[in-house]
Symmetry: D3
Subunit: 173 residues, 6 copies
């Protein structure tokens, strides 16, 4: 295992302006364009943590609320929350702003899981994450539960073994 | 509530070829490009079911396995599994093929939730889905569980009320 | 000559949504964007028939009628009609639909000729096509006439030798 | 009918460099990209002749020969050959050059038919073309034959009425 | 004149990954792509300062040194240095990094001048800039000299009136 | 030093149509898109002069005036003005036209400096430029002054040594 690194070391900010081709028929940013940007910012954050190439392993529970309009400035902030051997969970916060109107339009969250690979495409181990700020600690702790949920849903973990996940449902074992 | 429609009525096939700009540094299709295509095919399938404009509401549990290579032909098949008032869950199957080598490279699944809206952007009701084929029935039934999971994770449903979801964990109440 | 294959084996469906950057100044899909999509779907169909790389050899008699609008869903269906040693004629049908309005907007046809090549770019032989459905047989038979027309127009066949082509003009020889 | 204009008045030159995303799997410029550029240069030439908006009506007998490589400079030259009421035939010459190697790689020709429209999308009359240079006169004269071919193939002219076209086959009626 | 704002209030970070289509024939990021990104980040910084729409007025003395490679992460940082009635000078710093190799590849600087406009496209006044950090003060002071240079080169100021500019040449008047 | 070549030998014309994605929020061509096109046309002109690969070294004093609108035809004309060992200054003229309205909308000028490189990326010498037309001679002569300005601003030449440049300010030494 390589030396642990602080969560902050992977922090990445990306800014995009919404162009006409990014919108759907009703003048809002299409979800697919936002997912495309999220994937790039997640990859950069994970590269910073692992200092290696990375590929996307999974995408979870992205939700979209109010529409983001043409001309809005979209800011994406990504940080690695926790590492699991060769994979890293990346937390992404998205904010859209109508700058001339000084109005924050939108605020999203998403979790992407990225895997570190070497030049031949083999998975490689990544450093552990040291959470420092309050929010980093909260995200670090809840990461285990989200990971169990992904494994259960993918059929790679038995539900009864997902101890952390069960705690959501206040279930005693 | 508008008349129910068979799941098959929303079936949509989309085919894309992987171009150089779609790949990441290690020659595999970037996750963000695949998410972008998934969003378009999900939107078309949902439009066919609702006969209205639609916007993306959430994306769940997309997982990526083996790399898809440049020149591969990617086929995305989408179908609405179930409707919940104004929203529809869309199931997407992705297959990548190296046609000259006659080799199926990859097979993914994902669920997108789309919401039907009118010209002013207000949510509108959609027809119910009539599942007919065996797989359609299975997806229809499990859609309720996935919806509860989304609501619990988004903090919009109390875990103890998510009866269908609990069944994953074989828990009696 | 490799084993003959049914026309149906090359059948390919591609679906695209019309985005703002695909339209010309008057809000209709630009011809060049549709030709670009036609070329991709023709290449995939020809790849499926030949199981090799292919390049475009010629494009014939594409005609455009009513305008296709932004937000329309464009469906392209391609199938190899007939093979001539190393080349294949591909028939493409294009349909545009305003899904929310449930209106089919447009219907085109085009013929692309694709050539099979190996990794070094040398032309290679392709399987013959076995037409089965009624429309496949009609297209298979008329393919010879269209091929003679291409060769005459390219100055590679003497008009008096284009026996099939002359039949268009009801001329006895 | 508006005043006639010399063919030269519509002459348009367009230069493009071939980027990675323009090529197919075997490193040659994809046919669809070249068709896309041809459509734009044809539209500009037709706009110059008609001084109106234009849309693409048909594409004929484009043939592709040797591959155009990445980094090549592609020059497209377009000129209106003849007008027919509301439509114009545009002749396009394409040349590809490997500038560092001082080698002309490729030479194509194509004919696009464009229709002049007003702001409401209605067809409008265009000026006649005055051919001056030797090549302009040749193209002007053969344009009638190509037009009859298009009309016969589209089922909008009876073959026996296509007098100019028949002359290709040296047939007396 | 609207209230003055600190330089820091316009600070904008933009992160881009270099994709295959962004490179020229020799595998380095093309200058034109970097200029395109610079223009977007300059526009966002100027929008934040002026809280209005902005357009690009001029670009000065951008220089490119070592090549930026495919897969590199490019970070652009922009800040308004000084305002002149309706225009703002924006300073842009560019850094490229090969993250897996932990190597900073490149460091550029550029100055863009942006003009604030209202919805009808008329120029509007912008707040003055309050420089605080040491580098902000240095850039604020030298901005006048750069502005005189732009005006002289554009023929809109007589060289003998460009007092600040002359100081570069250590000339007494 | 390779044989000198006439300025005219590098002359390059590029034509682009303004598409929706090229415009900013207020319907004018974004500066960054024009800079991107300028870079390509400058690179082609420099390649023609040097018959080698080239990279962008610097961009100077590009100014933008009236807005260029969607649907406008933008014509860029580039020519090498003078060579300095391994670098070439390229002069670019930009004109925008609303063809249906027969109105020339805009006229810009810019200077790009390009460097000739071999396949390994090493700088290589380029032929001298022979200016012939009146404008070519004027641009050839003033190129030295612009070069000194670039060097002084980049801190690579002492202002007191920039004899040509000083002449702008009518200063005797």
């Amino acid at each position: 295992m390589r030396d642990a690194k602080p969560a902050q070391a992977s922090f990445t900010t990306m800014t995009e302006m919404v162009f006409p081709n990014d919108i759907n028929g009703l003048n809002g940013l299409m979800g697919g364009r936002l997912l495309y940007w999220m994937d790039i910012v997640a990859a950069i954050a994970a590269q910073k943590h692992a200092n290696s190439y990375v590929v996307t392993a999974s995408v979870d529970n992205v939700s979209f609320s109010q529409p983001i309009k043409i001309g809005n400035v979209v800011t994406l902030k990504a940080k690695v929350t926790r590492a699991f051997n060769t994979s890293m969970e990346v937390h992404i916060e998205v904010q859209a702003e109508d700058v001339p109107q000084q109005r924050i339009v939108e605020s999203h969250r998403a979790f992407f899981t990225m895997v570190a690979i070497d030049m031949e495409g083999n998975k490689i181990e990544v450093p552990e994450v040291i959470p420092e700020a309050h929010e980093e600690i909260t995200l670090f702790e809840s990461a285990l539960r989200r990971r169990q949920l992904r494994l259960v849903l993918a059929g790679r973990m038995k539900p009864e073994e997902a101890h952390e996940l069960k705690s959501i449902f206040d279930i005693k074992n």
